[in-house]
Amino acid sequence: MPEAVENKPAENVKTVMQVKGLARYFDVSPPLLNRILERLPKQILKAVDGIDFEITKGETFSLVGESGCGKSTVARLIVGLYRPSAGSIEFEGRDISGLSRAEMAPMRRRLQMIFQDPYASLNPRWRVRDIVAEPLRAFGLETTSSGIERRVGELLSYVKLAAADGEKYPHEFSGGQRQRISIARALASKPDFLVCDEPTSALDVSVQAQILNLMKDLQREFGLTYLFISHNLAVVSHVSDRVGVMYLGRLVEVAPASTLFRAPRHPYTRMLLDTIPDLSMSGRDRMPVSGEVPNPITPPSGCTFHPRCPFANDRCKREIPLPIETPHGSRVTCHGVEEGRVPEGPVIPNR
């Protein structure tokens, strides 16, 4: 423990979040009686299967992937809504993965979350001012009613809503305005770290632009660190400093955003990038990608991407690849890249 404290100013001053070997398994077995009678084995769904990443202060780190790749599970693990099956989550040098509820409480103030669905994440029977004030009351940050009122007004003004909007109920707002309310609520406890789980996927594009711009402004103003979860690569490329690409519970590539989008290395990243419908390529025929994401309960052996990978060979089918560092500062988990079988350079012609 003293060592950790000593290390803090030297090494951990910039890394706020360090995730090591994080895993979360879900038991999706049939009921015990069925298992005995029908001799079925236990079924374990490895939603997150050993991932490592770190997030430095003030940056936006994004996790991107298709549905079922485990990105939302990571978000929930980090804010403590799930307990990890293995691995550690260090927040400012302290492992928060095994903390008890009471020990976690002060951490919760600093780690807040914005959810995907602004319709489901706000209590419809509460006034907006009570929704935004809840963290203030829960953490005892403001005790007087005048203090709460002042602070709620301030928070609403941060997200470009009027203080008078506090009197209304969530149903009186549009989707974009509701998402502003959730952001105000998340900011209420003065957090340092925000986990944003698909904050704009339920919104229309013009409203999405408003929310993304707002989130950038707030980040600059309050020095926030974001973990941003999204399936939309264009949004991710717009907001992120660094990006992790997930596939079936594993990170296949972690890289600075500029590197990842200009020179993706992992075949899956390239495939994802090539599939985005692109405004500049009107009428272009693209190579359709074959195959679909396999069932995560029975993932393929070795590298889980091998059935869809054009570069796969025998080794990919047998061995689980380990992450390797590339000269461009990215970390790729691919035998092909390691052996130089996968050609360099973007698959997509320059845009």
């Binding site: 013009s206 990038l273 985005i276 405004l279 693209r286 990608v289 679909e292």
Partner: protein
């Protein structure tokens, strides 16, 4: 000039409610040529799905066509009796909806559903219809169709289900398919497959498509022409390339700017402040005027008509001929 396959003239869809009549689609005119893909894009509540539903005669009551005409190959279809319209649906106009799980009946195998549709619209015997169904399934890229034909919808993945839905829509070779957000429920890599499939099949069969979506990327990828809708009206309609690369209407300009593009770097996204007005609160004049940055007096009093600007048509006073001439 070819005769258009589908013509919509001054369509108006209304919902009478206790608090007054809501106009979901307001004076929309458009046409689709044979074999053409017309994209209809807009944000939620813009009236794009309503336009599609009106064409295929599936408006949910109390919604009703209050004015205008819909012509399929020159024949009016908006005022047909239910029985006749039922024969046109499927036979001449097919439909693909957003959620493949709800558009397939979970209690019947996909084969039964395909065979039923084929037999409803043609004279085929059961065996012939079954062969045709297998053919269709293989055409939409379902592996081992002879075996999969007896599977139930829940045994397919989302992408495969959407393929089945496409097979259903195509099974009697309709001339037009209304595809309402066909890829919205799917992951990007599957979305690309489905769009490619839809494009290829429609090209092969010469089927025209009205592709309704909120995703400009999908439109850019698949459509020949695009109509941009706002508050139940058409803001701009024209060839995809024109609309995407040189948008004319201030709303289209803002919409294109607000779409994040990969590798665009850290710039701020163009922001259209505010939100689309509710149907009860559509302002007078141009519906976009509260959010528009370049309004003139006329925008608040008079509603702009669609006027030809280059290859596109735009409903905006800035582009009205009178102004450009002056």
């Amino acid at each position: 000039m070819v005769n258009p396959l589908l013509e919509v003239k001054n369509l108006r869809v209304e919902f009478p409610t206790r608090r007054g009549v809501l106009t979901a689609v307001d004076d929309v005119s458009l046409h689709i040529n044979p074999g053409e893909v017309l994209g209809v894009v807009g944000e939620s509540g813009a009236g794009k799905s309503m336009t599609g539903a009106a064409i295929i005669g599936l408006l949910e009551p109390p919604g009703q066509i209050a004015a205008g005409e819909i012509l399929l190959e020159g024949r009016r279809i908006d005022n047909l009796p239910y029985e006749q319209m039922r024969r046109i649906r499927g036979r001449e106009i097919g439909a693909i909806f957003q959620d493949p799980l709800t558009s397939l009946n979970p209690l019947y195998s996909v084969g039964q559903q395909l065979i039923e549709t084929i037999q409803t619209h043609t004279e085929m015997t059961y065996a012939q219809a079954r062969n045709r169904a297998v053919e269709l399934l293989s055409e939409v890229g379902i592996p081992a169709p002879e075996r999969r034909i007896d599977s139930y919808p829940h045994q397919f993945s989302g992408g495969m289900r959407q393929r089945v839905v496409i097979a259903l829509a195509l099974c009697v070779n309709p001339k037009l398919i209304i595809a309402d957000e066909p890829t919205t429920a799917l992951d990007v890599s599957i979305q690309a497959q489905i769009i490619a499939l839809l494009k290829r099949l429609c090209r092969e069969h010469g089927t025209a498509v009205m592709l309704v979506t909120h995703d400009m990327g999908v439109i850019a990828e698949a459509a020949d022409r695009v109509a941009v809708m706002y508050s139940g009206r058409i803001a701009e309609i024209g060839p995809v390339r024109q609309v995407v690369q040189q948008p004319k209407h201030p709303y289209t300009v803002g919409l294109m700017g607000s779409i994040p593009i990969i590798d665009q770097g850290d710039e701020r996204l163009t922001q259209i402040d505010g939100a689309m007005p509710r149907l009860t609160e559509i302002p007078s004049g141009c519906a976009f005027n509260p959010r528009c940055t370049q309004t003139i007096e006329r925008c608040f009093t008079e509603r702009p008509n669609l006027v030809q600007v280059g290859q596109s048509s735009v409903s905006c006073w800035h582009h009205d001929r009178e102004k450009t001439d002056a």
